[in-house]
């Protein structure tokens, strides 16, 4: 077997061992197997990277589905894009596995948890490593399943189980779009293999209707998986899962698969500017929506969740303006700092004995110093302060947006202002001021074990230096990421002349950078002014009113969905089941039976009587019969007699 095929194999084996052996394998062995599988996988990625010579490697394991002319192979494709994603997945994945070893150590479902995590890694690797859309779809649905399993990990709680179900079903809605996209691709190109599809796509004109349909359908899939409007409401609910899950799945990897998919299909998207425009606006809207809701949330993980929604919006915004690399760049940096923030939040929650409400925290800085410092690093990174990684990726997106559309840029800037504000609000309220929790909590406050802090430190380091892979052009450093990825965009370049052309001169770019940093700094100062002393604690849920309450309650979008989709379908289900099915259709069926019965009762009536009536009926029968058969022949005979 080639090392490429080994990449998904190790997590699969890890899953099987931990899954089948659940309850039988000793507790100390479980994390070793789980983390080991992830680490081995990472090692394979590294090997594959070292062996990689710049041309895509396709490894076909077997023919998966062969029907008529359509042959879908179970094949992996290793190229620049999948390598980048694999590094993120296995790298961050390994760190989170390590973190979980400490975080979950008191949970009874310890082995199960690691099994699920490994299964997730396996699915995610399939998603990015597949050589065709259907393998991607396997991973696509597979990560959805793992997300379901992990969100519902503490399924005794009905709300958590509901959140898990909601996530799966919303994803399914998106998956349907993806599936339609796949059907359209088969119809259009006759194949699903990336290389063939993209090669054939070069023959299409920009703005071709079918490409529009394909890209749009695929984007619907991305909306579901990457929590974009209108399919984003599951992601905040998904915070019901254990925190490492939020970090791995709902921040660093799974939710970015939509971005991966679009980058992967960049040829198609470049062919369809209309879809790109749509993607950009959806991304922007999501970024703003997420940011506004994030302003008022008081649950530490919810803030991060909406922040994730918002950051994903930025990524799509970047993709929408054809800055594929920038989107991907942000995926990477976001993976670092958002995983860091989540894990840090996990560490805080760990310290707070499970409490997630920031109104009960405060003054944690001296108690859990490593967590606090790393958390601060993450916060700075996400706020876009140079030279932290978030600055570079976000700025690159903003630059492209500026060139594309000034209105978009200003809105995006507003978003980044809010981002910096709510993140620092979160930081100040959590770590500054005095402790507001109960005595038991205060007594229990402690720094997390090293298996948890080590990942924090590593991720913090990455959050700081991660931007180095993509310096802006004006710094006169090589943009490593762009260079590495450029073969991926060969198709886009050839089909869309707009792709990759930048008109901004250096002075404008300097100004743009300056503006975005300034905005972030103002936001931080603003946040400090409000919350920096730790006195100004957000009020209780009841005290909110007006617009603030609407935003705090997430614009009542969940309620809207309930009223527009969930409740009508429930009523429809009952109506169909009880009325249409039972009363109407079955009524007709039973009615036929009743009809026969009734007819029978009527027919029976005339056949009950005395001998005379029987004889009478018989005689009538005879007469009728005679008449029926004799009248014509009698008539004939008479005619012949007359003749």
């Amino acid at each position: 077997m080639t090392p490429i095929a080994l990449i998904p194999l190790f997590p699969l084996i890890g899953f099987l061992i931990n899954g089948i052996g659940f309850g039988k394998i000793s507790k100390s062995l479980v994390p070793i197997i789980g983390t080991g599988a992830s680490l081995l996988s990472f090692a394979c990625v590294l090997t594959a990277y070292l062996q990689f010579d710049g041309t895509p490697v396709v490894v076909t394991l077997f023919d998966w589905i062969t029907v008529g002319d359509l042959n879908i192979k179970f094949a992996f494709q290793l190229d620049q894009l999948s390598l980048i994603m694999l590094f993120v997945i296995t790298g961050v994945g390994t760190l989170i596995h390590l973190y979980s070893a400490g975080y979950m150590s008191h949970d009874e479902g310890y082995g199960k948890f690691f099994a699920y995590l490994n299964l997730f890694l396996f699915s995610m690797i399939l998603l990015v490593l597949g050589a065709n859309y259907l393998i991607m779809f396997i991973g696509w649905e597979g990560v959805g399943l793992c997300s379901y399993l992990l969100i519902g990990f503490w399924n005794k709680n009905t709300d958590y189980a509901n959140a898990a179900r909601k996530a799966f079903i919303m994803n399914r809605v998106g998956d349907l779009g993806f599936l339609v996209g796949i059907f359209l691709i088969i119809q259009t190109f006759g194949t699903l293999e990336y290389l063939e599809v993209f090669e054939k796509a070069k023959g299409f004109q920009i703005g071709d209707g079918i490409i529009l349909a394909i890209t749009f359908a695929l984007f619907v899939g991305a909306m579901g998986k990457s929590a974009q409007i209108p399919l984003f409401t599951w992601l905040p609910d998904a915070m019901a899962g254990p925190t490492p899950v939020s970090a791995l799945i709902h921040a660093a990897t799974m939710v970015t698969s939509g971005i991966y998919m679009i980058v992967r299909s960049n040829v198609l998207y470049s062919l369809s500017p209309a879809t790109l425009e749509f993607v950009a606006w959806i991304g922007l809207a999501t970024a703003l929506l997420g940011a506004t809701i994030g302003l008022f949330q008081n649950d530490i993980k919810k803030v991060l969740a909406y922040s994730t929604v918002s950051q994903l919006g930025y990524m799509f915004l970047g993709l929408g303006v054809m800055a594929y690399s920038s989107g991907l760049f942000h995926v990477i940096t976001h993976a670092f700092f958002k995983a860091l923030l989540f894990l840090g939040a996990g560490s805080v929650i760990h310290a707070m004995s499970g409490d997630q409400d920031i109104r009960n925290m405060g003054g944690l800085w001296p108690k859990i110093k490593i967590t606090a410092i790393t958390f601060l690093v993450g916060t700075i990174a996400i706020s876009g302060i140079p030279p932290f990684s978030g600055f570079f990726s976000k700025d690159e997106i903003l630059a492209h947006v500026f060139e594309h559309n000034k209105l978009m840029w200003s809105l995006a800037l507003l978003g980044s202002f809010m981002t910096a504000f709510y993140m620092f609000r979160l930081f100040f309220v959590t770590f500054k001021g005095n402790f507001r929790g109960t005595h038991e909590q205060e007594h229990h406050l402690h720094e997390s074990p090293s298996s948890m802090t080590l990942p924090l430190i590593v991720l913090a380091a990455l959050s700081i230096i991660g931007g180095a892979i993509g310096f802006p052009e004006i710094f006169h450093f090589p943009h490593k990421l762009n260079e590495f990825l450029s073969p991926i965009y060969a198709g886009s370049k050839s089909v869309n002349p707009e792709f990759g052309v930048i008109h901004i001169d250096h002075s404008t770019e300097w100004i743009l950078m300056g503006v975005s940093v300034l905005v972030a700094v103002i936001a931080i100062v603003f946040a400090y002014a409000l919350y920096g002393n730790g006195k100004n604690v957000p009020g209780s849920d009841e005290s909110m009113s007006g617009i603030k309450k609407v935003v705090y309650d997430k614009y009542y979008i969940d309620e809207l969905y309930n009223n527009v989709f969930v409740n009508p379908i429930s009523s429809l289900s009952k109506f169909f089941g009880n009325v249409i099915d039972n009363k109407f259709i079955d009524g007709i069926v039973n009615g036929v039976g009743t009809l026969v019965n009734q007819a029978s009762a009527q027919v029976k009536k005339i056949q009950v009587g005395g001998t005379s009536s029987y004889l009478l009926f018989m005689t009538i029968g005879i007469i009728l019969l005679l008449g029926y058969s004799l009248v014509p022949s009698l008539f004939e005979s008479l005619k012949s007699i007359i003749k």
């Binding site: 396997i138 005794k156 059907f183 099915d581």
Partner: protein, 480 residues
């Protein structure tokens, strides 16, 4: 001869079992029969490509009427017979460990059903097909009646009379055909069928369609199904949902497609719309069902709708998908009903409102349930996905709007199946579910093979698709 033995072994064994009382003996006989059947089938499978003559059995039956006792296996039949043989073995295994009275007779009746099903799936003569088609119902009817408790009599009778009513229309069609052709041979009728006058073609199409759509069932002929599935005892339900409903799809492919191509050209679209309407309709109804078996019943009905729609698109993809899905759904439905039975036996309840939290005391059951459930919500790498993917593609290619509507069932499927899962396994446990025990070796012996099949055919669907391809390619009535 091989096909004949596949038919005759369960027949004889079934008759023997009906006449013995000893439970142990009966169990071992049924086990032996299962093993022999599977062995014979595997052998038939191995000779399928090279020495297919071994698979055919052809003797005159009614020489005056040119009706022959002709059994044979082609790609489609091989798959269906294989499904029957394996699934019946699993059902037999499952039954033995359930608490039913009079197990030997139950096993015997199941074996008789198997014989009839093998007959249906391998018959090469229309009359033979018709006989077995009708006959397969009789033992199931008896099972439903004898082991079904108080109120099942009325419901199973409705099912019986409804489906027989449908198949009588098939008989009309066959008699008409037979009078025109003076032979019952399916292959030769295929050739001559285009010469028939229009009226006969019409009657043929509608008669056959009615028969098969009641059997499957297709909307709106389905109302016997929810009651029949939910009120019948589990063995009968397993047979009905896993195998008997497949006779309808099989009939569509084997009989209707080649016999009434002109009718399908004319009315195919309406039928597809009906089928997809049933798919969506059934899925929506399933969302709010609280009774486990009823929920699975509606889900089953929905799946059958998609199969019918896919077949009538007359595309290679649709047919392949439907054939694959027959196998997949067979296993999934049997698995689900078996799990429903386990849940009922352990808790005494089939209502979702009273269950919950079972995963805490029955993790193994949860896992098995999960895998079967994933199969039936068509998660990739399980068997459900391949069939559903191909069928949806076929319907989508046929008409984008219908295709997307059909695709909605994928979403709804997730909704009701996960609700089912959540309301039984997740959530806080209650008085009923707290003290249950997990499943043991007996149950695992049934569920593990199902799970293996679910995953194996999901990862390697070409195992089945390769065989059915030989049939589909030779069908010759498909749109290109």
């Amino acid at each position: 001869m091989l096909t004949l033995s596949l038919f005759i072994i369960p027949l004889i064994a079934g008759l023997v079992l009906l006449n013995i009382k000893n439970k142990g003996l009966a169990s071992s006989i049924s086990l032996v029969v299962s093993i022999i059947q599977i062995a014979v089938f595997v052998y038939a499978f191995s000779v399928f490509k090279d020495k297919s003559a071994l698979l055919s059995f052809d003797k005159p039956w009614l020489s005056d009427f040119a009706i022959r006792f002709h059994l044979g296996l082609d790609g489609l039949s091989l798959i269906m017979v294989g499904l029957t043989v394996v699934l019946v073995s699993i059902i037999l295994l499952a039954i033995k460990n359930l608490n039913y009275e009079n197990i030997p007779k139950l096993l015997g009746l199941i074996l008789l059903t198997e014989a009839a099903l093998v007959g249906v799936f391998s018959a090469k003569d229309i009359f033979l097909f018709y006989f077995f088609f009708e006959l397969a119902l009789v033992p199931v009817y008896l099972i439903a009646n004898l082991w079904g408790g108080e109120n099942s009599s009325k419901i199973t009778f409705k099912m019986f009379i409804y489906t027989v009513f449908g198949s009588l229309f098939m008989l009309i069609s066959f008699v008409l055909l037979y009078m025109r052709g003076q032979s019952g041979d399916i292959e030769s009728i295929k050739v001559t069928v285009s010469l028939l006058p229009n009226l006969i073609k019409q009657i043929l199409f509608w008669g056959l369609l009615l028969a098969f759509s009641i059997k499957m069932p297709i909307f709106p002929f389905h109302t016997w199904l929810p009651d029949a599935y939910s009120k019948s005892p589990t063995p009968a339900t397993m047979l009905l949902s896993g195998l008997l409903s497949k006779m309808g799809v099989y009939g569509l492919i084997r009989i209707l497609l080649p016999f009434a191509p002109s009718g399908i050209q004319l009315y195919g679209e309406i039928i597809i719309i009906l089928a997809v309407a049933g798919l969506v309709y059934g899925s929506i109804i399933a969302i709010k069902q609280n009774e486990i078996k009823r929920l699975i019943a509606y889900s089953s009905f929905a799946h059958m709708g998609l199969m019918a729609g896919a077949v009538l698109t007359l595309s290679v993809t649709g047919l392949q998908g439907a054939i694959f899905q027959m196998v997949a759904h067979g296993f999934n439905a049997v698995g689900l009903f078996y799990i429903a039975k386990i849940i009922f036996d352990k808790t005494g309840s089939r209502s979702l409102t009273t269950l919950g939290g079972m995963t805490q005391s029955a993790p193994l059951l949860t896992v098995m349930f999960m895998v079967v459930l994933l199969g039936s919500v068509a998660l990739p790498l399980t068997n459900g996905f391949v069939g559903e993917f191909l069928m949806l593609k076929a319907v989508f290619d046929f008409n984008h709007v219908i295709g997307i509507l059909a695709g909605l069932s994928v979403v709804f499927g997730a909704v009701y199946m996960l609700r089912f899962f959540q309301k039984t396994m997740y959530g806080p446990s209650n008085d009923i579910t707290i003290k249950i025990t997990d499943i043991g070796t007996k149950e695992m012996m049934v569920l593990v093979p199902i799970v293996i099949v679910v995953l194996l055919t999901g990862v390697f669907p070409n195992l089945i698709l390769d065989i059915s391809a030989s049939f589909v390619n030779s069908l010759g009535v498909l749109n290109k």
